[in-house]
Amino acid sequence: MNDVTQPGSDPRGVLLAARNVSKSYGNVHALRGVNFDIHRGQVTTLFGENGAGKSTLMKILSGVVQPTSGEIILDGQPVTFASATDARDRGISIIHQELSLAPNLSVRDNIFMGREISGPTGVDFAEEERQVRKLMADLEEDISPQTPVDELRLGQQQIVEIARALSVDSRILIMDEPTSALSATEVEVLFRVIRDLTAKGVSIVYISHHLEEALQITDHAVVLRDGAMTASAPRDRIDLNWIVRNMVGDNYDLGTPPLGYGFGDVALSVRDLTVRDPAGGFNLVDRLSLDVRAGEVVCIYGLMGAGRTELLETVAGRMRAASGQIVLEGHEVSHLTIAERIARGLALVPEDRQRDGLVQTMSVGENLSLASIRSFTRGLFTSTRLERQIVDSTIRKVTVKTSGGDATIGSLSGGNQQKVVIGKMLATNPRVILLDEPSRGIDIGAKGEVFRLLADRAREGLAVVYSTSEVGECLSIAHRIIVMHRGRISAEFDSSVTKEQIMAASGEAMVA
């Protein structure tokens, strides 16, 4: 670990520090002797795969949990935070990864939830609204204080979450994945706000899975792996490769397009597909046509709101098309139900695996076999033996790391949960598989495994269509890259394209 700077070598700029902090839950070591410095007026980014201990460390620094051993040093003095409120009173606030807004309340009420401004006649709503307007102006968002949060799209809700953290004047602001639902422009604005804050002396701790994005804003990088710190260095000494190397241990590879075989006939053909926005405005999908051949891997790239999810969900039968045709191996399927489409060989792996992919009350095995129950039903009853065969062979094929089919879903890591959802759909023996952001929220190691798995199936003649919002993932196993913008295909490339070309076609300005 020659990249590690000596802790405490420059104590002058360090505002808050964790010294040799460990945290155990039972005999599980979430953190092992971690040293972490937050520099005054700078952005410190914490990198690490899922389960590396990032969130645990942030919870310790923001007073949500107490460390098992080690100490926290604030302004050179050892401190103990009794609670999150205690930490907040000392100027440390945190934006959690999961949104914690009350959807039924207005933006104003959410921002001042729990610390309403009192006036002579109860809550001083006028003053609260004035402050909200100012925050929104800083964030360049046109959101009225009176708007109920559930009328905002996800990205705007995230802005409200950020505004709430900003409304507390804190010295240290911890941001856990603040940009996951933001558009490129909104990210740009957020970064400007972060720079304004650091200029005022506020220290930022930033966590993101979006490595390239985080590199643009960070001043210091710290990498965690398996609960231990593997490296830390200032911005000028690091690059993407350095981060990834320290995160996963060695060079990573998301794969290359599978080669050495010819594509088959057109497996999926979408003709002039249009999906209307129930709320009015632009069509979500606008007269889009697309052909995918057997054995071909197609990547759909686009920003949030480009219509990727709507396209895939309409093809799979979740959403209704206003017009257009969906043809699977020569048969029109637009009038069929989801179940009938699955039976014909068209399967969707949804974007949100917790909400749409997994049944948490069922075991790993029951989840894996859920979409193919008919194949192991004999007469009235299901066959335990046939089901076990399907479950065991799927666990093997998609390499789910689990103690077996009877394990609970909650015992799996994010990447393995995603493999369960993919395995469930592959068990239906599809001809075409659609995957909406298959890499969302899983670490790089699992991403590589998922892509390798899909490439292998493509070689066997499966048509694969996946969507992504990370450019790097387009340049992995896809033979063809399609860029969507406002419901249409704005560009189509082969695998020799560069990242810059893809981003330019998506309407995404390159953030400097």
């Binding site: 839950y25 039972g26 005999n27 599980v28 070591h29 899922n50 389960g51 398996d226 799979a316 979740r318 139900t337 989801i338 179940a339 489409r341 699955i342 039976a343 969707l348 949804p350 909400r355 749409d356 992919g357 997994l358 049944v359 948490q360 009350t361 069922m362 029951e366 076999s369 859920l370 979409a371 129950i373 008919r374 039903t377 009235l380 009853f381 299901t382 790391k401 689990t402 103690s403 394990a407 609970t408 909650g410 015992s411 799996l412 890591s413 990447g415 393995n416 469930k424 759909m425 239906t428 670490d443 190691g445 699992a446």
Partner: protein
């Protein structure tokens, strides 16, 4: 990945090992509660542990148990069915009316359908009312609580309208009309076991098989656990939803027949608050009201616990008011234990 998975599972296994006896008690709590109830009341009263009393109790269990099976199906789906007590009353009344003879005025004849036809027609009525619940919930997206609350009032109202508030007495039929045998369901025994208990046992076994071994059972657990995921996996979620409410309606009708047969009378006010007893049985049996978790075995134990407790309290002479208090305490205790059992997995996320 494997690093995060492995410690979690070992931690869990360890916790389970450490709390071995506690967990056993928690898992089998309804069973142990039942044993405790029988033991305590047998000591307190010599009249409790007698064949006569067990026959009385089991015929009560039959009615509640049949209702609770239907309720379990609906609760597994993540819904609730408040209309079962009313459907029970309506079914009893319709069966009573059919037994008393249907007068077809224009022809000037009175039809006396045979008992099997009465049973079939009554079950069909239960299915119809249940499917109204199902369609309201699945197709029109009315919250289950509201839809079945409405149907509860409507069915009760119709039962009152049909009878003008009166009760059909003497449903034993007349030999010359060929419609005797209605009391067979409630009074007769087969090998010493009341027919109604055999009906309950058969229904419980069939439902248990359906839940554990049929694809419909799997669909039901999946759509109760996560409807969106089930839908995207090709589970016909709306069909499942309509089916469970329909089955609950049919089972309510069967319970209505059993009750009417036991009493050889059918009144429009029968089965008041039975829906709450059925819900209590399901909950005591360990099912989660959020859907996706629960078994027939548990629900049956729940029904036995409620009836055996209430009966024991009557026998030792506890006042009816205290009985209500005890029943309520048992329900709350059961739900408390449910949150201990399921809470762990939720907090982990």
């Amino acid at each position: 990945m494997s690093e995060t998975t492995a410690p979690r599972t070992t931690a869990k296994a360890e916790a389970a090992g450490g709390l071995g006896i506690g967990r056993l008690l928690l898992e089998g709590r309804a069973f142990f509660a039942l044993i405790a109830i029988i033991a305590v009341f047998s000591v307190l009263s010599p009249n409790y542990f007698t064949l006569a009393n067990f026959l009385i109790m089991s015929s009560q269990v039959a009615v509640y148990g049949i209702l609770a099976i239907g309720m379990l199906l609906v609760i597994l789906n993540g819904g609730i069915d408040l209309s079962v007590g009313s459907i029970l009353a309506l079914s009893g009344v319709i069966a009573g009316a059919l037994m008393q003879g249907v007068e077809i005025a224009p022809l000037g004849v009175i039809l006396y359908p045979p008992v099997w036809a009465v049973v079939v027609l009554t079950c069909a009525l239960g299915a119809l009312v249940g499917s109204v619940n199902g369609v309201l919930v699945a197709i029109f997206r009315v919250p289950a609580f509201v839809a079945t609350l409405g149907v509860m009032y409507v069915a009760r109202g119709i039962a009152l309208l049909l009878t003008n508030g009166l009760t059909y007495n003497n449903l034993s039929g007349r030999p010359e009309l060929g419609n005797t045998g209605f009391d067979w369901l409630g009074f007769n025994r087969l090998g010493g076991i009341p027919i109604s208990v055999l009906v309950l046992a058969t229904l419980a076994v069939l439902t248990g098989l359906m839940l554990s071994r049929s694809s419909f059972g799997r669909w039901l657990y999946a759509s109760g656990g996560n409807e969106r995921a089930a839908d995207l996996s090709g589970v016909p979620v709306k069909r499942v939803q309509i089916t469970v409410y329909t089955l609950s309606g049919i089972l309510s009708a069967i319970a209505g027949l059993v009750l009417a047969s036991q009493l050889t009378s059918a009144g429009p006010t029968a089965g008041m608050t039975y829906e709450l007893t059925a819900i209590a049985a399901v909950v005591i049996g360990g099912a989660a009201l959020t859907g996706g978790r629960g078994t027939v075995r548990g629900t049956m134990l729940g029904a036995f616990v409620i009836v055996f407790l209430a009966n024991g309290l009557v026998i030792i002479g506890v006042s009816a008011y205290w009985q209500t208090v005890f029943t309520g305490a048992v329900i709350v205790l059961a739900v408390l234990m449910n949150s201990i059992r399921y809470g762990g997995s939720i907090r982990k996320r």
